[in-house]
Amino acid sequence: MENAILHSTAERVLASRSEARRRRATIYLILFLLVAWSIKVTVIDDTDWERIGSFSSILKEAGRFFAIDFSLFPKLIEPAFETLVIACLGTLLGVVLCLPVIWFGAANITPFKPITYPLARLMMTLSRSIHEIVWALFFVAAVGLGALPGILAIAMRSIGFIAKISAEAIEDIDPKAVEAIQAMGGGKLQVLRYAILPQVLPVIIGVTVFEWEINIRRSAILGLVGAGGLGLVFFRQMNTFNYPGVTSVILAILILILIGEVLSHYSRKSVI
């Protein structure tokens, strides 16, 4: 009797395992078919194989980039600085713009939940889901060429991430400090200033520095659509087919981002 129960249990376990295995196999099969289909459509059918030619000609094409135009470097310092400044200003403006979004988007302090909360969430998603190139195109059309559309694009693009993380931090705060300030007779603004802000400021600063680091990367390409900085130089080098110059610009971007990464690492360490 006991043996029979054991036996049936073992059988059930084995059956569920083989069931799980079968399901996994189906999922992998579907994934594999998707890959095969995608490769067929995007890579095999769509590619102009004659233009690419043989493997050696690809290497030859790619080899044009493996040289550095050192004479370009002195001319890169100013655009690199410009890129950095655009990233800084864009991030600052983004932080300023995202303050109301944070306020509306944190469920526990939002002023009028049925309307302001979804509004802020929509703002966050929109800001994150529209690519910086698209934002830049929009602002170039609105304010003309120059650094300004780049700054505005970066600011709009940063709102979402900073606001999302900060609003989540506010939702997780310790409510005792809020109650203490309220018990002392503090108004709404005082609660924000003395109970909520001190608790979430490290998070906001940390996420801002993180976003700043990403924004350097973004501001380096906004020149492609009409904002200044390294992107513009990249675009010019590309259009004059000066491939070693392109490599130099990419190298300059890498150095700039490395500096940004080191700075952001240490400043985040000192904040948190």
Partner: protein
């Protein structure tokens, strides 16, 4: 009787959250930021008066040029095909990028890397380069090398996803519990065995989350890599921007935003489910 009650409510009149030395630092930091802003605005020659007229101009632009979006233009078989292409491009790019990031996450995590002196810095450097170079620059480079089409788009997205997922995965791997790994090493497992049976099971759930997120981000990038000739919807965008067909541009942007929103909702839902399974 009246006087003490009022002082109790208003409190001491000169209370400040920050006292003298600290308040000076805060003031100094604020001043520094303001000086920087003024300097930067001057340095970049930003025409501030344009900022004031910007809202009016955006308003007229939206109402006169971009409205109404030319929905008929995107309600078209070719356009739908390009949307599908974009999805496939993002899918392939994310897949290849994730495969590469598995390797980079292993080699680039300080605690399990095969060699801290050579492999670790190399893996970190590759991850950094992939991440630092923007996906648009990858797209332009591959278009120059391989010509127009979706292949350069797939390559660009692969590099982008490699950097993106590689960094996240390396951070996850660095946070694992080393107990199982050491136990496996003690029984004589080699590097690959330790990674497959000791490290990967610990980060599997995190990796699934990263994978979903990567696909989402890759799709977002894929909608615009075509802007520089790498196929998909971006090519439609570029063409109409150049032809100043604003109503069509509006329709395309509208469709991009809609698709990205849908993909973000799906990804958030899927990541939630994965997190719950853990």
């Amino acid at each position: 009787m009246n006087i003490p009650t009022t002082t109790a409510i208003t409190g001491p009149p000169h209370w400040r959250r920050f006292r003298f030395p600290q308040s000076l630092y805060h003031f100094g930091a604020l001043l520094g930021v303001l000086v920087f802003v003024v300097f930067a605005i001057d340095y970049l020659n930003i025409p501030l008066e344009r900022l004031l007229t910007m809202f009016g101009r955006i308003g007229t632009q939206l109402t006169e040029r971009y409205y109404p979006p030319d929905i008929n233009y995107i309600n078209d078989k070719d356009y739908f095909a390009s949307v599908l292409d974009t999805m496939q491009m993002a899918y392939l790019g994310a897949l290849f990028g994730l495969l590469a990031s598995l390797l980079l996450g292993w080699f680039g995590a300080h605690n399990v890397t095969p060699s801290r002196r050579y492999v670790y810095p190399a893996a970190r450097l590759i991850t950094m380069i992939c991440r630092a170079v923007h996906e648009m620059i990858w797209a332009i480079l591959f278009v120059t090398i391989l010509g127009f089409g979706m292949l350069p788009g797939v390559f660009a997205l692969t590099f982008f996803c490699t950097g993106f997922a590689g960094k996240l995965l390396a951070e996850e791997v660095e946070a694992i519990n080393m107990g199982p790994v050491e136990a496996m090493r003690a029984t004589g497992a080699n590097g690959l065995q330790t990674f497959v049976f000791g490290v990967f099971p610990q980060v599997r759930v995190a990796f699934t989350g990263i994978a979903i997120y990567t696909w989402d981000v890759a799709f977002r990038a894929a909608t615009v890599v075509g802007f520089f000739g790498a196929g998909g919807m971006g090519w439609y965008l570029k063409r109409n921007v150049l032809q100043i067909e604003s109503e069509r541009v509006a329709a395309i942007l509208f469709s991009i935003i809609l698709l990205v929103l849908v993909s973000e909702i799906i990804s958030a839902w899927a990541r939630n489910r994965v997190a719950k399974m853990a």
